[in-house]
C-alpha cells in the first residue's frame, strides 16, 4: 500500500495543475493575490498560491525528481541482495 502513495500523489498534483487553470481564469483569481485585504476571500489566495507552487513544482522540479527517483529504483534493483555475494 505504502509504495502506491508516491505515484498517486504525483498524479493528483499533476491533475490539479492541469485542470485548475480554467477555474482560475473564470474566477479572475489573480486579484486575490495582487490585492489581499479584508475584501479578499482567504480560500482564493490559498487556492491561487497552491496552484502557483504546484505548477512550479510540476514544470521545474518534477522532471528532475522523477529522473533521480527512477535512477534510485534502478540502482536498488541492481544492487546485489544480502547472501547473493
Amino acid at each position: 500500500m505504502k509504495k502506491f502513495i508516491e505515484p498517486i500523489l504525483i498524479l493528483l498534483i499533476t491533475g490539479f495543475v492541469c485542470l485548475s487553470p480554467n477555474w482560475l481564469f473564470d474566477h479572475q483569481a489573480v486579484f486575490a493575490l495582487l490585492s489581499p485585504g479584508p475584501h479578499t476571500q482567504v480560500w482564493h489566495i490559498f487556492f491561487f498560491l497552491t496552484f502557483l507552487l504546484l505548477r512550479l513544482f510540476v514544470i521545474l522540479i518534477l522532471p528532475g525528481y522523477l529522473l533521480v527517483r527512477l535512477g534510485y529504483i534502478f540502482f536498488e534493483k541492481c544492487k546485489p541482495r544480502k547472501g547473493e555475494q
Binding site: 487553470p21 480554467n22 495582487l34 490585492s35 514544470i59 522532471p63 528532475g64
Partner: protein, 394 residues
Amino acid sequence: MKKQKFITFAKILLISLITIPFCIRFLSVPFAQKDATNYFTVNHENYRQMANGMDYWIDKKMGREHFNTGSQRFDGEWLFGTYLMTAIGYTQEALIFPEMYDKNIGKIKTALEAINTESIQKFDFEAWGESPLTFKTSDHAAYLGYYNLALSLYHLLNKNKINKETDELIILNTKISKFLEKRLILSPLKMLLSYPKEIYSVDNCAVISSLAVFEKATNQPQSEIISTWFDACREVCMDPKTGTLIQALHWQDASLVEYPRASGTFLGIYFLSFAHPEFAKELYENARDEFFTTVLGLGAVREYTRDVPAGLGDIDSGPVVFGFGLSPIGFMLGCARIFDDEQTFSSLFGTCYIGGAAVKSEDRFNWSTGGSIGDAVMFGMLTTIKAKDWEKFK
C-alpha cells in the same frame, strides 16, 4: 546502521542537487519556451486565437464590480486598462493583417466607446473633480494620454477608409490631440499632470505617442512640440545613472519623487516606439541592461534599479518577489518583440508560460492567472508592431 542511512541520504541529496537544476535548464525551460518563436514571429493563427480570447472579456460587458483590488481608483484604472489594451491589440492586429479589418472594427469601436463612459472615467473624475472631457485647464494625462493613443491608432487604421468628418471617434481624437498639444505648449516642464500635483513619466510617453500617431494618421509632419519633447524627456525623465525612466517627478520642478521602475520604463518604451523608435530602442537597451536577468534560462525583470532597495511594488507592478516584478515581464516581452530581440523574448516567454498558465480551448487563447487585465496586456504586447514595420504605415 544510522551512518549508512545518512550516507545514502547525502548521496541522494547530492545527485538531486546536480540533476534537478540540469533538468530545469535542459528539459523544463526548453519545454516552457517551445512556443516562443511562434509568438515572436508574426503568426496569423496566434493573433486570431488571442483576439478570440479577448472577445470573451469584451462580451462580458465588464464593469468596476468585476475587479476587486480594494481601491476604487485601481478598480477603475484596471477596467480602463482592460478596454484600452484590448482596443490597441485589435487595432494592431488589423494594421498588420488588413484582412482582419472587417472582423475587428466593430470590436475596436465597442472597446473605445466603453472607455468613453462615466463608469470608466470615474477614476479620473474622482481625482480631478471634473470630467476628463471638459477640456479646460486640467491635464488629465492618466486618462487622456492613453485613451488618445488608442483613438489615434484607430484613426491611423481608418486613414483612408471612413468619412473622417462624421466619425465620432475620429472627431474626439482630433479634439483630445489639440487639447493635449495646447497643454504641452503651456507646460513649462513640457510634462502633463496625471492627477493633481502628480507627474508620471510613463503617462507623458502615452501623451506624446498619441500625438505622434495622430500626426501620422493625418499626414502631418512632426510638430515642434513633439521634437522638443524628447530633449525634455532626456533631461528630466531619464535617470542620469541608468538611462531608464524615472517613475514620478515633482510637479513644480521635475525633481525626483519616485525612483525608476521597470514596469513604468518598459510600458513607456512600448509607447515611445510609436513616436520615436530610435529613442525607444536606446531606452530599451539601457533598461534591459539594468533590469533584466536570467535564472537557469528563464527571464526575470527587477522592478527597481540595482542601487535601490527593492520595495514590495504596488497594484500596478504586481507583487514584487525577491525584487522581481510580474507586470514588467509582460511589458518587456512586447518591447523585445518590437526591437527584434529574440533571445530576451524567448527567456521571458518561458517565465510567462510557467507563471501565466496558458489556457487553450476552442480556438481561444487566454492566460489564466492574469485575469482580464493580464490577458489584455499580453494581447497588446504579443501583437506589437515591430519597429522595422512602422515604415509601412507612414
